[in-house]
Amino acid sequence: MSAPREPKIRIRGLHKAFGAKSVLRGVDLDIGPRESMVVIGGSGTGKSVAVKCALGIVEPDGGSILIDGVETAGLKGAAREAVNARMGMLFQGGALFDSLPVWENVAFGLLAAGQRTRRDAKPVALETLAQVGLGPEVGDLMPAELSGGMQKRVALARAIAARPDIVFFDEPTTGLDPIMASVINDLIVECVRELGATALSITHDMASVRRIADRVAMLHEGRIVWSGPVSDIDASGNDFVDQFIHGRASGPIRMAVRR
């Protein structure tokens, strides 16, 4: 499968440095509409930074991030909020607001955008919770009362509640047991398919990659060193990809000790 001609997200020459440390050194990536792209790479290679640049949380030093052909790098204020209203994000640790009950976490985006009143938002939140396999009794609990797997489900519900057309997943299965990881992977596939959304995920978990990806890109030392359909990953012919997917200690990838 090749990348469609008109990508939903087009990233070109993305650069970001923190002080003297250059994290992104010219990332180029195209993601087609309704495509599920997974970016793999070792810890500290800049995967999360690239996603945070796309969401406007981190301002890139250079490069371009086009969404539906419109430049979004460097957007601020209301323009950024308008772009982000079309996106959802599942954070690695869930990042649920611990001062709010679960249903308000899920409905937060709807309430913030003024799309719904609190009275209208609650049924939508409970419906979205049902979509990720959680009953209405969970809605009134606080995030601290939930297990790690349930928190991930709630975070997924929050990411999709406003029916975004782009969803980002930051290491969605980290810290979960293999069964719960598999449940989350299935939910991600189902939800993204049902929304008709474009998905960009970053992960180390190869089981997750094989389950949720249409296409895979490998990030190493701030650049994309390989990209292709997930079906080609075992025969990529790329030493970096081979070492990564087989988890070999020896090879061209040297893990950095410092961040």
């Binding site: 969401l55 308008a82 690695q92 990042a95 649920l96 607001f97 611990d98 913030a112």
Partner: protein, 257 residues
Amino acid sequence: MNPLAAIGRAFLALLESIGRLALFACAAVSHMVRPPFYPRVLLRQMVDIGYYSLPVVALTTLFSGMVLALQSHTGFARFSAEGAVAGVVSLAITRELAPVLAGLMVAGRVGASMAAEIGTMRVTEQIDALSTLSTDPMKYLVAPRILAGFAMLPLLVLVGDIIGIFGGYIVGIYKLDFAPAAYIDQTWRFVEVHDVATGLVKAAAFGFLVSLMGCYHGYRSAGGAQGVGRAATDAVVSSAILILVSNYIITELFFAK
């Protein structure tokens, strides 16, 4: 190492910190007056700062008023001026002690908790999550807290004024054998609206500073649990210093002849 270069670097770092804090304060104030507003968040903060700080402020001002009555009586007895006790207690409480003590107590209670809460939100990516949900963290987290601190500390100080003077009254009547009517009369004759008003102006300034420092240090925290702990400590220490410095400046502005 060149010592002059080290001094220069430290001075530039200080200027940078002041500039960063000033920009943060300007951004927070501008968000207070621009919609959208979050009345539920504001109300929750007002209750947290105002209502839940009442016991600690009440106890502090009560015992300060009592001690002040005892000490001033000891001092004034040497000049046979015991009659001035009621006036001195009420002036000291309204002008200085209630606002400064309430400010310091709220800095310890609320400033630290704001820094810890916002700091935890920073290190657990909750602040990033707010941005992705089309919500400006400055508007949602910082502006309501600073506004609540600014509005609630004067109310706390007003209550503290009454309780502090009452503390002096209890000691005056039951320990120092003042006539209740004479003590109350002395208090009324000494205290002017100006005295109470300056105390409230100070309280508003201290409330602003305490919330600002709590939010600023929490917002900029990094480095996990240790960073959050450092943010809470920095918030309390910087609030306390700013309260004492600004107290002098405001006193100089209001009372300098």
